[in-house]
Symmetry: none
Subunit: 233 residues, 2 copies
Amino acid sequence: MGSKILVVDDEHEIADLVEVYLQSENFTVYKFYGALEALQCIETTELDLAILDIMLPDMNGLTLCQKIREHHHYPIIMLTAKDEETDKITGLTLGADDYITKPFRPLEMVARVKAQLRRYKMYNPSRTEEAVSPVIIHSGLVMNVDTHECLLNEKPLMLTKTEFSILRILLEKKGSVVSAEELFHEIWQDEYYSKSNNTITVHIRHLREKMNDTVEHPKYIKTIWGVGYKIEA
Amino acid sequence: MGSKILVVDDEHEIADLVEVYLQSENFTVYKFYGALEALQCIETTELDLAILDIMLPDMNGLTLCQKIREHHHYPIIMLTAKDEETDKITGLTLGADDYITKPFRPLEMVARVKAQLRRYKMYNPSRTEEAVSPVIIHSGLVMNVDTHECLLNEKPLMLTKTEFSILRILLEKKGSVVSAEELFHEIWQDEYYSKSNNTITVHIRHLREKMNDTVEHPKYIKTIWGVGYKIEA
DNA sequence: TCGCATATTAGGAAAATCTTAAGATTTCAT
DNA sequence: ATGAAATCTTAAGATTTTCCTAATATGCGA
């Protein structure tokens, strides 16, 4: 994930709440309490989705919605009060992809955001994090990311999820050295990394064991002292 | 798919939005902002469905609806403002097959379009383009998607709707791993809130039970820990 | 040799899945 | 509409698998 989401609501509590929930899902949030401040963001940032309150003090939320639509096609979700007059709501879907009535359950909001992003990215796959080839081949080693299968010299290699990820990353960066910290962040993203954490080392150990690789004469995973690990190109 | 759909709404944003959503589902869209322009399209194009705003400036949507009905039998969906029941009923009796009140969620709209098309094409099979094979076969397992029948080693397997869907999805993606979340979205699309992922687990359990599959040595549904389920190719 | 980086080990912690059963919901015949 | 049957969902605990920690050992380079 890591999609960029615009949030505009003059009610600070709601904007903040939305922000917290979205951030907890690893989205990048651009939060504004007024439409005018948001305008610049719209111009300058490559967003993936927008959440707009329909009632803003300085500019109608619908106007903002239409401003976005002038140049962008990413999903827009409107926040509406439940008791607004029907007439006003009638024009609501003008350009919006979904609407959520206040008060709403945060988890429902998050679910809808995800649903829209899923749809958007399916339709616009270029925005999705690069699509990689599902099979990686390297001297007697075959990895199929789709089937989660791994063969070593024609024989199946049973790898756990994490082991599979480490081997995949090393193979994708075949030839260059990858530090333990880099591996850590590729796999666990944001989580805190400390040097005393030898988790990666242990997984590497297991990998080598399953692949019959020795530390002294590694056929696959080589240790570059003080730098990291690598698989020769 | 690839059905031809007429969209008529004088509110440009709504017409455009509907167009985008339908196009993303690979429908061919004929979009008009006024009834008069649409008339010619109705005459000259072999449409599969029409979506009409009930309130148009140059001609009543219902009138347009009746014009279509003079010569065509494809489904018509009316867009209506959130008003009284009267319009709804009237609209339906005047030849429309479904109505959607504004504001609406585009995804719901798409779902209804699909539902109408399904119904329509069932009675007009000639219009269906090259249907995919309705039977899936895999080592002793025969699934007929049309009749919803399933045989395991010549003997009938009684599956519920959800079980059938899960098995079908796994077989369609035979070989690759499908996560519980993916299964969830394939089956329930954009539903949100609760319905913990455990639901899938329970259905998988029932499936395995009916198929005499064991968790330890599964012949069909294998668990890839931390990733999902798969059926070997 | 010393200091630091990596390797090895194993057991407990954590996470994911399985199992079960009860309650909710839907379906269907009456 | 009503109730029974089928199906689905939820919840809690059991089980399995995987991960992480911590303590110790080993190897590299200055």
